[in-house]
């Protein structure tokens, strides 16, 4: 990489690309050496008063939406969607918009350092809990950890983004013979991705993450899938929803949501069927049986066990509503059935996923427009590397507990907060002699670390994300720094590469890269000869320049795979309702806050964005049906104690009219004990109530809980956007 491309050459190349907006790539590959310059010596393209735009990728979740970030004299001003990226086509969600509050967050870890476990201090000015180090020390510490331990004494736990780090760590662990990195993310847990993929594997005989073509369907029946909120790829699915409503030939698509608590997604449905938690599998199979009867065809084995009356009584819905659904499906040309995370997070979740996928096969939409596909495999990927299930995390925790792991590296995930306490992650860390965190923010897991070597924020980072689902084509979303790093942070990829060189031997030989960009190019070079990309280039420097300019590389083909329907309906499926855990009088529905997601609580503006259904800001609430609240003698703002067999939390009541009287719901996202001034000590974490019971696929059965609710006598009003007089009139609190 000595023959750096000159800026002039790069601009010539960039002029060739048909970019509609002037998207600069920061001088091509050479820009990694850009430093913060005084105003009198700005780079040539920075004119006073004119903005510079960079294409990059959002990392607020792992969907991989493309961004165009407006910068102004070295500062990131505004995030917009990248109109060319097939995942989001120029659109963003609230979390993406407010990622700038992560970038400029005052609570970021600003220097690398040695940290005293349990101390919520990440700066040497603030106490003895943190002793700052230089990045040279960091290289030595990481190199020692990689060389002085036996290979199986090193473990890596990484998040669902970014993928280039996952690839590097995979290469690194293979070279030293260490166990492969474990990936985890709370969204993966709440979406029960493992269950969905296992069901697809078992029914279709093919592995892959299912893709639901909402936009081209004319009837969507969703079993609790919150696809307009955080599920899989929310921006792409919202586009699909918009297309569904606009309809083909002016015929507006219809949408039915079956779930115990009306979610933001459910609020957009034409019909809401409030079935009881855990009754999704029998209801899906009952629909299959009634559909077969309506069509006058013989009952396939998949629906043979269905018992319509038992399903209706388990679901607690009236028979007409199910019959009505069957009529809708019969009248529809392109129906699609979607299994959501909460429906699968039951002890019979795998049965539910299979039952819902079988309905799709029964209406013949597999591989059809408006139906079910397997998502396109991203460029550079052999398959989709899903996050670990709760079972796999429990095994990992067991390994940490056994003391075999001497050094644990953690990046991009906050398991101490996200995993249920019952899995004992935080306790297991006590048996790991050295915990190294690469946290950008001072999260709960970093509090338990011995070292914190902060990574750049995603908007200061290089990288790529292999898009798991959302686009019909195969997409690699590319990241590049939009500003010079704001604090004394360092890319984790650079830290690991430097440590590999320091370690020498086979590791240095296997990872002979001077820096992160060289590593990225070693991966991207595999795409140069691909013919069906939307751009191609004869050599790597030009390819990288285009890759930066356009914010990634994707194919122009439809790369979704049509699942095989051969054997789907011949499997017999179990029609029993889920077995619930605990003896409380209420079903418990935890859901990911549509605004905060898993890690948004440290961004102040995101805290102040009202929840779409309750309009609550800055806190955690418990949704209780108004009739139930009256029976319990509680009103809006009264604090109740929610107790499961595994834990208890206290939060204020929000009287929510669209929830079953036998069900309560709580949002996940708050309840941090660290994570900066805007998150810490705010609300509660419903994951504290979760048990450790799992479904057959190994996903956590978090929605299969029964809880008790008690009045505490305390009152703490919630900040909410709607009038404090509420929507119930002047007499209510």
């Amino acid at each position: 990489m000595t023959d750096k491309i000159s800026r002039r050459d790069f601009l010539k190349l960039a002029g060739v690309g048909a970019a509609t907006t002037a998207v600069l790539t920061g001088c091509g590959p050479a820009s990694r050496y850009v430093t913060r310059e005084p105003y009198v010596k700005m780079p040539e393209y920075t004119y006073n008063g004119l903005s510079t735009y960079y294409a990059t990728t959002c990392r607020e979740c792992s969907a991989g939406c493309g961004l165009i970030v407006r910068t102004f004299q070295g500062r990131a001003i505004k995030v917009e969607g990248n109109q060319n990226n097939p995942v989001n086509l120029g659109k963003t969600c609230a979390r993406g918009q407010i990622s700038l509050h992560g970038l400029y967050n005052p609570d970021r870890v600003q220097n690398p350092g040695k940290h005293v476990r349990g101390e919520n201090v990440f700066s040497s000015d603030k106490g003895a809990g943190f002793q700052e180090l230089t990045w040279l020390d960091v290289t030595n510490i990481v190199a020692d950890a990689l060389t002085k331990n036996q290979p199986d004494e090193v473990a890596f736990l990484v998040g669902m983004a970014p993928d280039h780090l996952f690839d590097l760590v995979t290469d690194l662990t293979q070279t030293i013979g260490a166990p492969a990195p474990v990936r985890f993310g709370a969204l993966g847990m709440f979406e029960a991705r493992t269950t969905l993929m296992k069901a697809a594997q078992e029914l279709f005989g093919q592995s892959g993450l299912p893709f639901f073509d909402i936009g081209n369907a004319d009837l969507v029946i969703s079993f609790g899938a919150n696809f307009l909120e955080t599920w899989l790829s929310p921006v792409a699915q919202t586009r699909g929803y918009s297309q569904l409503r606009k309809g083909k030939n002016g015929r507006r698509g219809y949408f039915v949501q079956l779930e115990p608590r009306m979610s933001q997604t459910g609020a957009k449905a034409d019909e809401w069927v409030p079935l009881a938690a855990g009754s999704e599998a029998p209801v899906a199979l009952a629909i299959g049986r009634l559909l077969a009867e309506a069509r006058g065809i013989s009952l396939p084995p998949a629906f043979a066990n269905a018992d319509v009356n038992a399903a209706l009584s388990a679901a607690g819905v009236n028979p007409e509503s199910i019959q009505h659904l069957v009529d809708l499906i019969t009248a529809s040309e392109r129906p699609v059935f979607i299994p959501g995370g909460a429906a699968l997070a039951q002890n019979n979740g795998l049965q539910t996923a299979e039952a819902v996928l079988a309905l799709n096969a029964f209406v013949g939409n597999l591989g059809q427009s408006g139906g079910v596909f397997l998502s396109a495999i991203a460029p550079l990927a052999d398959e989709y590397h899903r996050p670990a299930s709760a079972k796999e995390m429990a095994d990992f925790v067991g390994k940490l507990k056994s003391g075999r792991v001497k050094t644990l590296f953690i990046h991009g995930v906050n398991p101490v907060f996200e995993l249920p306490k019952s899995l004992g992650f935080a306790d297991a860390l006590a048996n790991v002699p050295q915990v190294i965190s690469f946290a950008t923010f001072p999260d709960e897991t970093a509090v338990q670390a011995d070292y914190v070597f902060p990574d750049h924020h995603s908007l200061e980072s290089w990288g790529y994300q292999k898009v798991a689902t959302g686009a019909s084509s195969s997409v690699l979303s590319g990241s590049q720094p939009v500003i010079v790093p704001f604090f004394n942070t360092k890319s984790t990829v650079d830290v690991l590469l430097a440590a590999a060189q320091q370690a020498g031997g086979s590791l240095a030989a296997a990872l002979p890269f001077k820096d992160e960009v060289e590593f990225l190019q070693s991966k991207l070079v595999n795409l140069i000869n691909e013919s069906d990309g939307f751009f191609s280039a004869p050599e790597i420097n030009t390819f990288t320049a285009y890759f930066q300019q356009h914010g990634g590389w994707w194919k122009t083909t439809d790369d979704r795979v049509a699942p095989s329907s051969a054997d789907v309906l011949n499997r017999s499926l179990n029609a029993a309702a889920a077995r619930l855990d605990g003896d409380g009088e209420f079903f418990f529905v935890p859901f990911v806050s549509p605004i905060l997601g898993e890690a948004g609580a440290n961004k102040p503006w995101l805290q102040e964005v009202p929840d779409p259904t309750t309009t609550v800001m800055w806190n955690t609430w418990v949704e209780i049906n108004p009739d139930t609240a009256a029976k319990l003698g509680v009103d809006n703002g009264d604090v109740v104690k929610v107790t499961s067999a595994y834990g208890e939390v206290e939060a204020s009541v929000y009287k929510y009219p669209a929830i079953r009287p036998d069900t309560i719901a709580m949002p996940f996202g708050q309840g941090h004990t660290a994570y900066g001034q805007f998150a810490q000590g705010r609300g509660v974490n419903p994951a504290d109530l979760f048990g450790a019971s799992m479904n057959e696929a190994g996903d956590l059965a978090f929605a299969g809980l029964r809880v008790r609710v008690e009045k505490t006598g305390k009152t703490k009003p919630l900040a909410r956007m709607e009038s404090a007089l509420g929507v119930y009139g002047f007499d209510a609190k």
């Binding site: 505004k78 609230a94 933001q264 609020a267 957009k268 409030p274 102040e608 009202p610 669209a658």
Partner: protein, 259 residues
Amino acid sequence: MSTDLSVPVFTNQSEEELGGKWGMVIDQDLCTGCQACVAACSMENNIPFVGETDAAYGRSIQWIRIERFWQGSFPEVKMTPYQPMMCQQCHNAPCEPVCPVFASVHSASEDINLQVYNRCVGTRYCANNCPYQVRVFNWRDYADARVRPELVTLQNQLNPDVTVRRRGVMEKCTFCIQRIRHTEDVAKSEGREIRDGEVVPACAQACPADAIIFGRIDDPNSRVSQAGLASRGYHQLEELNLLPRVTYLKGESNNGSNG
């Protein structure tokens, strides 16, 4: 010697007035209530967060908000379609005549309501008179890093095209006037008219469902004019005859209720 006593005829027309008339269409059937517009607006327009306590007092500063109401009770409960609500840029704006210092004035060229921050003395008469409740007041110095040290790093994000407001000033949606001006300048320097869809306010740009359409409503062929002709179109509080510039398309969804 006679004096010409005839008064010049006031035509209520000016050269300026022949300029762009901007308007918006919001499709409530498509709006998913995701709040991307609220977030995008706050980032574009330097809108500060006010914190939990002030937010609970209803002092949060949001130029656009998503309204929703409930109808009925379980199980026949319905949520009305999500309704993004921002300044409707009324032609007959009730906020304007009540301002004693002409801080709330009408722009003849764009036919939108301007808020002149350095004239505003904070009487809040305009907010009192706004039937849409879309004007928001700076009860404290929410955006001042000298008062709120947590903003010292966050203020790097501020948009240099938009004024940062201080305590005692009323503010509201401007239809992203800085973006309109910028596009006008670009078009002028290139010696052409502004193309339809060239000006996109932050809310419309972010909206994942494409529920917000913005453009010139004096051009009958523009996308926004065409969309506004739909039979589902209506204006909020139409009976007040304020001639708002925002047309809503009635939502058909949300559990069968028709907003």
